[in-house]
């Protein structure tokens, strides 16, 4: 699981993190990208949504934390294609499942 708490509008290295997710998925690893805090901003259908939709289409499961979405006024009906809303507990469950988890 990769946790992204920043957005590509203000932190350009976020796109490198997305690329890491894509490369891991391309090598056959199950990969979840978990977006939290401002990391959920590109999950809104809009300028950067194609980045996340592309990841989803390449096999990365893209989750956006529901609390962070609510804080920012992003409704579930406005999420980019391929992005799912999910609670923070998904991170706990990933840890409990033994997932290697990296936060940037």
């Amino acid at each position: 699981m990769l946790i992204a708490s920043r957005d590509p509008f203000t932190a350009k290295d976020t796109e490198s993190f997305y690329a890491l997710a894509a490369k891991l998925a391309a090598r056959g690893h199950p990969v979840t990208l978990f977006l939290v805090q401002n990391g959920v901003l590109p999950a809104r259908g809009g300028a950067a949504a194609e980045l996340l939709t592309g990841l989803a289409e390449s096999g990365v499961r893209v989750l956006a934390e529901d609390f962070s979405l609510r804080e920012r006024g992003i409704g579930a009906d406005r999420l980019a294609r391929g992005v799912e809303s999910a609670p923070l507990e998904r991170v706990v469950d990933a840890l409990a499942g033994g997932a290697r988890t990296l936060w940037t």
Partner: protein
């Protein structure tokens, strides 16, 4: 009911400055609620998260008293997490990096926080089912 699993979180960010600290505490809360034991290794500015002298204050700009402002204090959140862990029969072991504490003059921590160092972090990792490092960023 406890799962018997233990997870370690390493925190670096100080309180009142980034959302990561709040998210990390929410994550610790969610982990405890799942019935897991939790270790926390706080270093750098994170040693101020359980600093006992944090004080709520009034907001003169908006004309609100300290009570009306109801200023959130991380030390209270951590005390609540410790109480919740005890009530649920799970462990929350919080270690503040001693060198980081000394550098910052942050010795007055809330009850339940103990002083340690990087070897404690290694011990935590070795005894844990998984570890998450919450990074600090610009």
């Amino acid at each position: 009911m406890t799962t018997g699993k233990t997870f370690t979180f390493a925190l670096m960010d100080p309180p009142f400055e980034t959302a990561r600290s709040t998210t990390a505490l929410r994550l610790i809360d969610a982990t405890l609620r799942r019935g897991h034991h939790v270790n926390v290794f706080a270093y750098e500015g994170a040693v101020y998260l359980p600093f006992a002298l944090q004080q709520a204050h009034a907001n003169a700009a908006h004309g609100r008293s300290a009570e009306e402002e109801d200023h959130p204090l991380p030390r209270r959140w951590i005390a609540d997490l410790m109480a919740a862990a005890a009530a649920a029969g799970v462990k929350l072991d919080w270690v503040n990096c001693g060198l980081c504490v000394d550098e910052r003059g942050a010795r007055e921590s809330i009850e339940g926080v103990r002083r340690g160092g990087p070897p404690d972090f290694v011990s935590f990792i070795e005894a844990s089912d998984n570890t998450l490092v919450v990074p600090t960023r610009d």
